[in-house]
């Protein structure tokens, strides 16, 4: 009770101060979020919710993503790359401490990387570390990473949330008490409800402007709307109901942030299953789809059309949407040429997100217009993973691939859409071995064109990052280059 009185007293005092015209800006924030992290170790689960809370706030890697998707130095101040591109010598920042007071040194880097690539590793992105053959500690602030072959994406890979640096001293309890080096430190987790972070007073870099940050988990879209309207939360990252955004936009209390994500939303097609093993059929499929209708109908206008598996905000993006423009007549003609003048039947298996469930209905209607009967079934994620992803028992499905720069999944013939093109596989292998930026850019452009020419999947749109916040909050990321809610630069305007 005393706490309550004290708080009321503080509020009254704050009101008084505000009245006198010397307002002290708020230093705490409550951020709503739809999904709760299952646990708090970003290096042993795929759940994006873990990174959404902890990336950059609590944990940092050797390199890090900025809001525009660029990769900049993190815990590594600088690095040298050997002439053949296989040896990276990282110079680490001095004076960095973990939240438990222990020093951050080269030993922690070696521990983290060795743990991620170990045989019994539970890292969900183990492939990021596959090329590492050795991690050597040169001195406390220098670490040398040797790769089996040059890897042009290595610094990019080290910026992922799955590659953050953890300490051996705190690894046993990391799932409930994460100890990192970031500008915020973990304070408290009330499971099912919220996670509290507090400012790290000993941060090595620019200190956080907020004293306290709370992530509150609200899964129901209607409840999320109510929480923002009642101002129970100050911001909502990844707002789940795009249909409500115009209402917030019109309300002077709020600001709506619309940014880009790495999520290519595609109509994944089972390339080994007849009739989708026929290029002509896949091409017909592509022409049967009206992307803008899907963006308008399923996402209420938020989203950017794509013509290949690549993020439009990336400088290497090639706009290939014209190649698969909406043209139902052309689609019918192609189907007839492929031997299906009366169309055919297939399955459309939809995971839970609204882009899939709403988009699926629209796509099924568009396909019906050219004679393709897609039977819709709604699946939960575990079912989807089992049937579609692992079992490959599907004709069509809709998924947003949110991993950054993941066009290389098309080089995996066993991947669930089963695209097997040796030329593409060679190109990706060459890309990994190439470190020259200009050459890499050209190769990425070629890769985009190859999969668009092969009509591997139906390319729909790039998922938009949608957030709502109090109008007085500044410094939030609009874009989501990785699943992160970086609060290190967030503050309340007076």
């Amino acid at each position: 009770m005393f706490a309550g009185w004290y708080k009321k007293g503080a509020l009254a005092a704050a009101a008084l101060v505000a009245g006198m015209g010397m307002a002290e800006a708020k230093t705490d924030i409550i951020v709503g979020m739809q999904l709760e992290p299952p646990h708090l170790d970003p290096t042993s689960a795929a759940a994006g919710a873990i990174d959404s809370v902890l990336y950059s706030n609590v944990f940092e890697g050797l390199t890090r993503f900025m809001s525009d998707g660029s990769v900049v130095p993190g815990l590594a101040e600088s690095w040298d790359i050997s002439g053949d591109g296989t040896v990276y010598t990282f110079k680490l920042r001095a004076g960095v401490k973990f939240h438990d007071g222990t020093d951050f040194t080269a030993d922690d880097v070696k521990f983290s990387l060795d743990r991620a690539r170990a045989e019994d590793s539970q890292n969900a992105q183990k492939a990021l570390f596959a090329g590492i053959t050795d991690v050597a500690v040169i001195d406390p602030l220098t670490v040398q990473v040797t790769l089996g072959a040059p890897n042009g994406a290595f610094l990019f890979n080290m910026a992922w949330g799955d590659a953050v640096i953890v300490a051996p001293e705190s690894i046993d309890t990391i799932k409930t008490n994460p100890v990192g080096t970031g500008a915020f430190q973990f304070a408290n987790w009330v499971q099912g409800d919220r996670i509290d972070l507090v400012k790290n007073p000993a941060y090595w870099g620019t200190p956080a402007k907020l004293e306290r940050a709370t992530f509150k988990f609200i899964s129901d879209p209607t409840a999320a709307f109510a929480a923002v309207m009642a101002e129970d939360v100050h911001a909502f990252a990844g707002f789940p109901a795009p249909e409500n955004l115009p209402q917030f936009d019109a309300d002077p209390r709020f600001q709506v942030l619309v940014g880009s994500t790495e999520g290519e939303t595609i109509l994944s097609t089972n390339n080994k299953m007849p009739p989708f093993d026929n290029l002509m059929v896949r091409k017909a499929l592509a022409h049967a789809i009206d992307r803008q209708a899907i963006i308008d109908g399923a996402m209420f206008g938020y989203g950017t059309p794509i013509g290949t598996h690549f993020a439009p905000h990336n400088p290497d993006y090639v706009d290939l949407t014209a190649q698969s423009a909406y043209d139902p007549e052309q689609a019918k003609k192609l189907l007839a040429e492929a031997g299906f003048p009366d169309g055919f039947k297939t399955t459309l298996k939809l995971p839970p997100p609204s882009y899939a469930r709403r988009g699926g209905e629209i796509i099924a209607a568009q396909l019906r217009a050219v004679g393709i009967e897609a039977e819709i079934s709604n699946l939960e994620w575990p079912q989807w993973l089992e049937q579609v992803f692992r079992g490959k028992d599907y004709g069509l499905t809709i998924v947003s691939h949110t991993e950054p720069a993941d066009i290389n999944i098309y080089a995996r013939p066993e991947y669930y859409f089963q695209y097997d093109n040796p030329a593409f596989q060679t190109l990706m292998a060459d890309l990994t071995n190439t470190t020259d930026p200009a050459a890499r850019s050209a190769m990425l452009k070629t890769a985009q064109t190859i999969i668009a020419d092969d009509y591997v999947n139906g390319y729909l749109f790039q998922l938009a990052a949608l957030s709502v916040a109090n109008a007085k909050i500044d410094g939030l990321w609009a874009n989501a280059p990785t699943q992160a809610t970086d609060l290190t630069a967030v503050y309340w305007k007076d």
């Binding site: 969900a124 409840a223 009642a230």
Partner: protein
């Protein structure tokens, strides 16, 4: 009385054993691999195998059933697949929300239903009776989640008297904690109170027609006196049955209300656990709910016997 008690107790244990088998079987059939769910699209086979071994998923179903049941008997509910914390701790934490919420809602519904039911019965056919019957008909018909959203719109968004949801936590004090449970409790209590009031009314009316009530009236008691002294006690049997069922429903059925008010209760835990295929949590929580229902029914049976001595001889 002792024999009655023991027989009821045996039935309780038997129900629990059968329930544990059914729950385990059902969840065995559900498709979906917890390890694949946790590690996602880019997981490699060796990583998945490592996680499965850690979770004990590489054991056979019988071994897993035995590990689960034998652990539960000594109070060890296992470790959650996803959260990696002991299930017992998680459940205890959630019960701090769900149990008070259920008690709060039940108190509210009883506090509304008893007077309303008695009032309606004592004024049968008159204005008060018709009003109570009309309102309760509405209360039964309105879905509680819709009513909950309506309350949020009015009391949280417009009037700002309450938060739109969330739980303040007991550490913030009893006042704020109860305040955050108030709207959910009302939403849960409304349909319950309506049903209870109607049952109360009809049970009372029925016992008011019994011979012993007529005898009491003949001895010179007023209608009200006969109702309070003789009819009410006998009318409580069906009412207790309904209260017992309602409590069980409030424990297990608050999932939707917990989602609307984003309360960290048991229902939400089960909901999350099912979608993450955290089978050990689902199994344990469902088992716990079965346990709660069976125990409440057991207590209701005992309460019958206390209210009506004739029932002690029957089983």
């Amino acid at each position: 009385m002792l024999q009655f008690f023991l027989k009821r107790l045996m039935a309780l244990v038997l129900t629990l054993v059968v329930a544990s088998g059914v729950i385990f079987l059902c969840l065995e059939i559900v498709p979906g691999d917890p390890a694949l769910y946790m590690l996602g699209l880019n997981a490699q086979e060796d990583t998945l195998a490592a996680l499965r071994a850690e979770l004990g998923l590489d054991m056979g179903p019988l071994a897993r059933y035995w590990a689960w049941v034998s652990g539960m008997v000594v109070g060890d509910f296992g470790i959650s697949y996803t959260y990696r914390t002991p299930v017992a701790e998680m459940v205890a934490e959630r019960l701090k929300v769900s149990l008070p919420l259920a008690v709060y809602a039940l108190t509210l519904s009883t506090a509304i239903a008893f007077p309303a039911g008695i009032w309606a019965a004592s004024r049968r056919g008159r204005g008060a009776d018709i009003a109570v019957m009309g309102v309760t008909q509405l209360g039964v018909a309105i879905p509680n989640f819709w009513f909950a959203m309506l309350m949020v719109l009015v009391f949280a968004i417009q009037l700002r008297w309450f938060n739109a949801g969330g739980f303040a936590g007991w550490e913030a004090g009893v006042g704020p904690a109860l305040k955050s449970l108030t709207l959910p409790a009302i939403a849960l209590a409304l349909p319950q109170a309506s049903i209870l009031a109607r049952v109360m009314r009809s049970a009372l009316l029925e016992s008011l027609n019994e011979d012993y009530v007529r005898t009491a009236r003949a001895k010179g008691l007023s209608r009200g006196q006969a109702l309070w002294r003789h009819a009410l006690r006998n009318a409580l049997i069906p009412v207790l049955t309904i209260i017992g069922l309602q409590f069980a429903f409030l424990m297990a059925g608050a999932i939707i209300i917990e989602n609307v008010f984003y309360l960290p209760g048991l229902g939400r835990l089960v909901f999350q656990a099912i979608s993450a295929r955290d089978l050990i949590v689902v199994e344990s929580v469902v088992m716990l709910l079965v346990f709660a229902v069976v125990v409440v029914n057991f207590l209701v049976d005992i309460a019958y016997a206390l209210v009506d001595p004739r029932l002690r001889g029957q089983v």
